[in-house]
Structure formats: C-alpha cells, structure tokens
Amino acid sequence: MVLDVEQMLRPVAEKVRSIRAARDRRWFVDCPVQYVVPVCRFLFEQVRLRFVISTGVDAEGCFEVLHHFCHDGSGSFVTVRVCIPDRSDPHLDSIAPFMPTAEWIEREIQDLLGIRFDGHPNPKRLILADDWPEGVYPLRKDFKP
C-alpha cells in the first residue's frame, strides 16, 4: 500500500506550504506557524495518523519543530515541519489539548530549547530540575555547560 500524502492533505492544502517525499515512505510537510494546529488536528483526528514524537531543532536562523506522525497501514512517516523565525521569544501553538501524547514532549522541548507552547494544559517543567536557572536551555547551540 502506498500512501498518497498530497491526496490525503487536500482538505488542508491551502494551510500547507509544500509537501516533499524525501524518499520512499518518508514525507515532509512544510507548514506555516499559524496553521500547525489545524494541520496536526486534521492528521490526527480525520486521517487518524499515530502521533510519534516531536523534535525541536536549533537550526540556522530559526527554531524548527518537527511533529512526526506515522501511518501504520503503509509504514509511512509524515513529518510536519514548522520554522519559528523569532529567536528572541520563540513560541508555537500547542497541539497537546487534543493530543494527550504530545503533552510531555512539548514540555520537554520547552525545557531544553526554550520554545514556549501557547495553550498547553500543564506547562510545568518536565526534564529540568526545579532549581535550574531560568533562560538557560541545554539543547541550544549557544549553551555552554
């Protein structure tokens, strides 16, 4: 079975910047910051993809957040990629309110990369200790231990 992601994403086509197949069964969907919630919600609730995990990346010039979804019927990965250009106060809409699995990983990214998730149901620290200094994010490139 081959997954046609372009066909699948037609209902939210105007909310997606580009769809790219990196290789067989590995799809990357570029999504503008403001549409990350509707696109992820569509993938999770309508297409019923399984949410795997999110990755936060301190990339050149921006912060990237990748939401990885898996289509188990075909073994395909659909990764929603968001670039957050604002490096001084990076924030993104939370997908945890409708996806309980994303709750921990968003808190983790918030701890380690300092990306704030707006609308997160429980935005407490997860990874870092309670006495860790504010504003020090270990996974950022400029972090000095």
Partner: protein
C-alpha cells in the same frame, strides 16, 4: 486534590543506579484511585546532547546504553536512520543477524516481564522459573555478540560480529527447551482460574484510549490496535520470515500477559527460521562519510516502537539526534487505565505496560490530607493479598509455593 511538595520529597531515596526513574503519586479515596501524577526525569542522562558530541560510528554504543533490556533495538533504529540518510544498502547476512539478536532480545525481555508480573501478584515460582529460562537466551547472546546486554553488534552499514560457525545447532537446541517451557507457562496461565479471576478486567485500556494516547507495542496490541513496525514498515529480515502479529481485543492485564507469551513463541519461531536460512557473505559495507540530510528509523522493541531521528550537516556528528523510547508514550496512559481502579490492582496495572522495574518501585499513595499512606512494599503486599484472597475463595492452593492454610 491537595498538592503538597513536602510529601513528594519524603517519598524515598532515589537510586541513581537504576535507569528510568519515575515517580507515581496516587491519590485515593477509600480503595479507589482518584488521581495519578507521574513525574519523570529524576535521572535525565542527556543522551541527545551527548550524542551531538560523538561521531556517527560511536553513537551505537551510546544508544545501546539507553536501556539495558532494549540494547539491540535502540542501536538498530539509530543505524537505520543513518543508513536511510546516507542511502546505504545493508548486506542480507547482516539483516538476518540483526533479526536473530532482536528476536532473542524480545524473548528474554518478555520472559522477564512474565516473571515480574508473577512476582507482583504473588506467584514467585513463575518469577524464578521464567528468569531461569531467560538465562540461556542471555548466554546465547553472549556467545554471539560478546556480551549479555549492550551487545554493540550493529554499526552503520551492517553488523560487527556474525553468528559463529556451529552456533546454529546450539541456538536451535536452546530454543527447543525455551519453547517447551514457554508453552507450558502459556497453558498454565490460560488454565489457571485464579489468574483469570485476578487479572481479567483489571487495568482495561480501551481501543479508543489506546489510539488517543498513541500507545505502541504490546500495550497497543492488547487493546486491539493492530500495529507492529516489523510488519508495517519492514526492516531487517522480517519480510523474509513467516510470522504473525498477535493481538487481543480485551485490553486488560490478562490479555497483556497472553500477548507477551504468544509473542515469545512467535519470536522463537522467527529465530528458528532465520537461523535455518542464514545466508553467508559480507556482513557489513564500508560507509565512508555521511552526507547532509535527515533520516528516520524505527524498530519494534520489546516494549513497542523505538524511534530515532538523525540529521546531518555533512560533518561527522549528528545535529540533532532525537530518541523516543516506547515507554515515553506508554507511561502517560496510566491516567486512562488507573483512575477509578482498585488500589491493590495498581502495581500490576503499572507493571503490565512493562516499564522498567525502577518505575514501579518509586511509587507512593497519598491520601486526601497529602500524607504518604502506602509505599511500594505495602502496595505489593496489597496486590499479593488480593490474589491469595481470590485463591482462597475459589478453594485453590495458594500460589508461590506458600502452601499454608492460614
């Protein structure tokens, strides 16, 4: 529920030697659990940060130390991600060797779980028995890879060690013994009326919740969610073997035990086929350098899907490397399966997901005043007492070799 920070501190010493520290704080009302709070990351080891300082060929040894029990799955998932990113095709022999090692790992991990589950409900004989039959599997792994755990046998481009000559017959011989004992155990579990009464309908995770919480592995398969990375996104030699995915619709602890036991038998079948068909040839290809790009790898570990994401900028280190172990998505579902449950059933419900042993050890029950009412030992005792009560009501001998009529 009243939050009381001092009660959390007083819970108990943290053992930094054990991996996967988690702390469960249960709130109870009488015998029922009304809330459960999970805290993780008491011993965060910063593997992802550390990984960015190591070279691509050194990372398999690092990621195999994420979990001692899944120390074949993590490196395999990582290596698959890097191979995908570099466009490497792995020789067939290496695929078979990885399959054998991963399935042997699943056998010993599932047997370990069955033993612990028996221990939690008071069947210590099961505990001793399964751990004794788990030992030959570890010996086999030691003879193949040079270590009982942390096999360090995969590398980017293939495997490091082959199956030694003459080892095939030994593997088949040991498998016959383990299969015999696992079959015996499966029959014993399916026939034991006490176990039926004790475990059926306990810690039920509905299919809807399983999908909503996106759980993976045996935990999902017992709730009727038919997913298995080995079949859905075939890797290693799995597409060449004849096997089936075990699912059960009930979602309770009993179904979890049955699925794990049947999966052990399937794994034995798979190893047997792989050993018989073992091709010979080159075991690895040289990978010179890793081009810029990104790769995703996932592997069906004993506890579920292990996921690795690796990105390379053309240098010899990954930027970044993301790891997701199966327990990361399986543990939050305790809110779905424990709330409203009996307090004596909590230990086995938490253990049924098969997190590491240390997870369940760091557990305390808080009553409404915020004081610690029960610790782990007491919870274990409650769990066992319930089994004994059921056994007595049914007029059955008490489990665990404790043959007293008290």
């Amino acid at each position: 529920m009243k939050e009381n920070a001092s009660s959390i501190i007083a819970v108990g010493p943290l053992h930094p030697l054990q991996e996967e520290m988690e702390f469960f704080q249960l709130t109870r009302d009488g015998e029922k659990v009304t809330d459960i709070q999970v805290r993780i990351s008491y011993n965060h080891r910063g593997i992802e940060k550390l990984s960015e300082t190591l070279q691509f060929d050194q990372i398999p040894y690092l990621v195999s130390r994420i979990c001692g029990i899944s120390s074949a799955s993590h490196p395999l998932a990582y290596v698959q991600a890097v191979e995908e990113l570099a466009g490497v095709k792995v020789p067939e022999w290496a695929l078979y060797v990885s399959t054998i090692i991963n399935e042997l790992e699943r056998i010993h991990s599932h047997l370990l779980w069955v033993g612990l589950a028996g221990h939690f409900i008071g069947y210590d004989t099961v505990f001793m028995c399964t751990w004794r039959y788990r030992e030959p599997v570890l010996d086999l792994l030691e003879q193949i890879t040079g270590n009982r755990n942390n096999y360090g046998n995969v590398r980017v481009g293939g495997c490091r060690e082959d199956i030694p000559d003459g080892m095939e017959s030994k593997i088949l011989q040991e498998l016959a013994l383990i299969e015999n004992k696992t079959e015996m155990l499966t029959k014993a579990v399916l026939d034991a009326p006490v176990l039926h009464a004790r475990l059926k309908g306990i810690g039920v995770l509905t299919k809807e919740d399983a999908i909503r919480y996106a759980v993976v592995g045996p935990t999902a398969r017992t709730s009727g969610v038919d997913i298995d990375v080995r079949r859905d996104d075939p890797y290693a030699a799995y597409p060449m073997l004849d096997w089936k995915v075990i699912t059960q619709p009930q979602g309770d602890v009993f179904a979890k035990a049955v699925v794990r036991l049947l999966e052990t038998l399937e794994s034995i079948k798979m190893v047997r086929q792989a050993v018989r068909r073992l091709p010979r040839g080159p075991i690895a290809v040289e990978v010179k350098d890793i081009p810029p790009g990104e790769g995703l790898g996932h592997v069906e570990a004993p506890r579920g899907e292990t996921f690795h994401y690796v990105r390379s900028d053309g240098a010899n280190r990954p930027v970044p490397h993301k790891v997701r172990a199966p327990s990361y998505v399986n543990v939050p579902l305790f809110r779905a399966s424990c709330i409203g449950a009996d307090i004596a059933d909590v230990t086995i419900t938490l253990a049924a997901v098969d997190p590491c042993y240390s997870c369940t050890e760091r557990m305390a029950v808080v009553d409404n005043a915020g004081k610690i009412a029960l610790d782990f030992d007491r919870l274990l005792q409650l769990s066992r007492e319930k089994t004994f009560k059921i056994a007595r009501q049914m007029g059955r001998p008490l489990p665990g070799g404790i043959q007293c009529d008290g």
